[in-house]
Symmetry: C2
Subunit: 411 residues, 2 copies
Amino acid sequence: MPKINAERLLADLDHLRTIGGVETGVIRTALSEKDMEARRWLKKRFEEAGLEATIDGVGNVLGKTSKPGPVLLIGSHSDTQPRGGWLDGALGVVYGLEIARALSEDPETANLAVDVVSWQDEEGSFLGCLGSRSWCGVLDPEAEKAATGRDGTKLTDAIAAAGLTDVPRLTMEENRYLGYLEAHIEQGAYLEEAQQHVGVVTAIVGIRAMRFKFHGEQNHAGTTTMARRKDAATALYELAYRVNQEFPAVAGERTVWTMGRAVVQPGAASIVPGYAELDLQFRDQDESILDRFEEIAAAIADDINSRGKARVEYTRSRLPVRPSMMDDGFQKHIAAAAEATVPGKWQSMPSAAGHDPMVITAKLPCAMLFIPSIGGISHDFAEDSDRGDIAIGCQVLADAASSILQERRNG
Amino acid sequence: MPKINAERLLADLDHLRTIGGVETGVIRTALSEKDMEARRWLKKRFEEAGLEATIDGVGNVLGKTSKPGPVLLIGSHSDTQPRGGWLDGALGVVYGLEIARALSEDPETANLAVDVVSWQDEEGSFLGCLGSRSWCGVLDPEAEKAATGRDGTKLTDAIAAAGLTDVPRLTMEENRYLGYLEAHIEQGAYLEEAQQHVGVVTAIVGIRAMRFKFHGEQNHAGTTTMARRKDAATALYELAYRVNQEFPAVAGERTVWTMGRAVVQPGAASIVPGYAELDLQFRDQDESILDRFEEIAAAIADDINSRGKARVEYTRSRLPVRPSMMDDGFQKHIAAAAEATVPGKWQSMPSAAGHDPMVITAKLPCAMLFIPSIGGISHDFAEDSDRGDIAIGCQVLADAASSILQERRNG
């Protein structure tokens, strides 16, 4: 088994955080000057690791091995949120780099082939998973043309400003890859609370959302009898409460649902509300649970409508994200490596946040490994992980990559 | 019985609506130029009706009869909401004027003594019921100094601009009055829906309000498990729903409650809300119902707190308004007059909106009469009443005033 160099791994992560570093965090949004500076530095580090490295026309950095295949692709993204943490994305890219180095350095694994990648704009500063979409050939040209950043800058202008307009875009080389592995911080507190060091991701959860619009009749809160009212807020409160009562019977252990946006209009204590809106979002790795949730919420709305008071309309308020199942075989390799490194201190779990494998699973078997986030914090300057956990995660992923590749060679 | 002159009554109301008239509505907020113009016109009309009329230091217009007492005071207010209707307030003032004229014109009632009044700023452009408070001697000098209009103008400056700073303020002449009568549009649709022409007001309802503050923990809607959440909005939805479930068992026929303001923060579909606020207001003529409502809402909040999730705080969010009971004897006179004029087409009912008698009941027995509002609309340019109903209401109040005064003379 290869032995990763924890000191080198952490030194690379520490260096990467200085590019765009602000206080304890990092500001390195996709295609910004700092983002491109980080990608040029990664390209150099990939080359120093013996890989043939390229920055492509959207900013993906791909380091290709010259070893004969089959090849495992390992990586993540190096762009950040507008006020991001130092590990989100960066961790998985540097894991890929360190694993490529560690495998090459060990005579027993020196023949195993690993490519390393940093995808562009996973965080969606312009268009979420831009880089992996482009590489998988599923980037919609219309969506690319329409995409703008938070300040209104067009994606196409940002690509031009980064000097990438005429640079070729890489797409997946057919028959080269065995699959894709990505490590990430958990972005939740589940591993920390369970006092575990590694999470083996079973699936990236699907996400659906519904928007409810409640049409009532605005009236005087003193002179309008209860019987006469069509109170939009009363309907909202009922729907929200019943959702919270009825969903648990259908939910799995990790299913989540949230009604984080509620608006009551005109919003005065003395006025019976004439209009209200409620957003309901839910996530699970099991599509049948998401289906049932939609049915239950719709049935509650229909029941409220049947009374002829405030009228409820509902629509899907975002394109559904389907659950992305991680490859079973890869999961077993990661689990075995975790059990060898931290016996009993790992577990299988879904990813509640989105990642590039949501795109890549359509083309390649994928797997993901999580390490604990301190306090469950991510997308924030305060994001951090224990340095011991960072090393453990990389060793486990290196062992898994090694055993996946060796199994294929031997099999 | 006196016979009111419906043509003259409606002509006066039609003239009054031209002062500050805009489209079908009226903009005549307290102490504005148009408000003072209307008050000067009313003073002249009071004088033409044989009354000795005065505009006092806050703008109250009082028309005093020279007939020997006991005297009934009849009136309302002539100021309007920022975009008000033509009848709210104006109706009751012109009723008083017409009743004084009609009684004087009938030899059988010519000796009956009626004073007529238009109170200042019932609508609270600066300070609600300013005029009746001043007249009853319960205007708090500190509140008067602090009062400002919607645009920040100080009440004292508005009084100065109206030329009233050095004008004496009238206060109630002790032992002069038998009581106070006021007519008003219903401002609701109860009479219209019941197809009735007159409402005999039993009480002006009391109002209480509570504000609930929900303290939760803001979190990621994907990575925070349901078990770990302290969702402020979930607590709000539950409290609001349970209030709507539990209040009906305690409510009277006309009790109303409203949760017209709900705020969920930060208010994004993908974020578990960390904070929320809910306003609950309730009104009834029976204080024991208001007491029970406070207890029920508090018990629900305490129950939610007992779970150790989001924490609910609650406070009274306004000074409680106590119910104002109308005089039983006066009610009987108005009821008898209504039955004589529109048999079976009247009813007793509480007033769900506030009026000057809330202040005046502390000093004098009061009674109120309602006529139907078309579509229940008030405080709006679209406010209107049937002209036949306007005449009926005035005749009923004239008959009631006459019988109250005659009973006292004979009794």
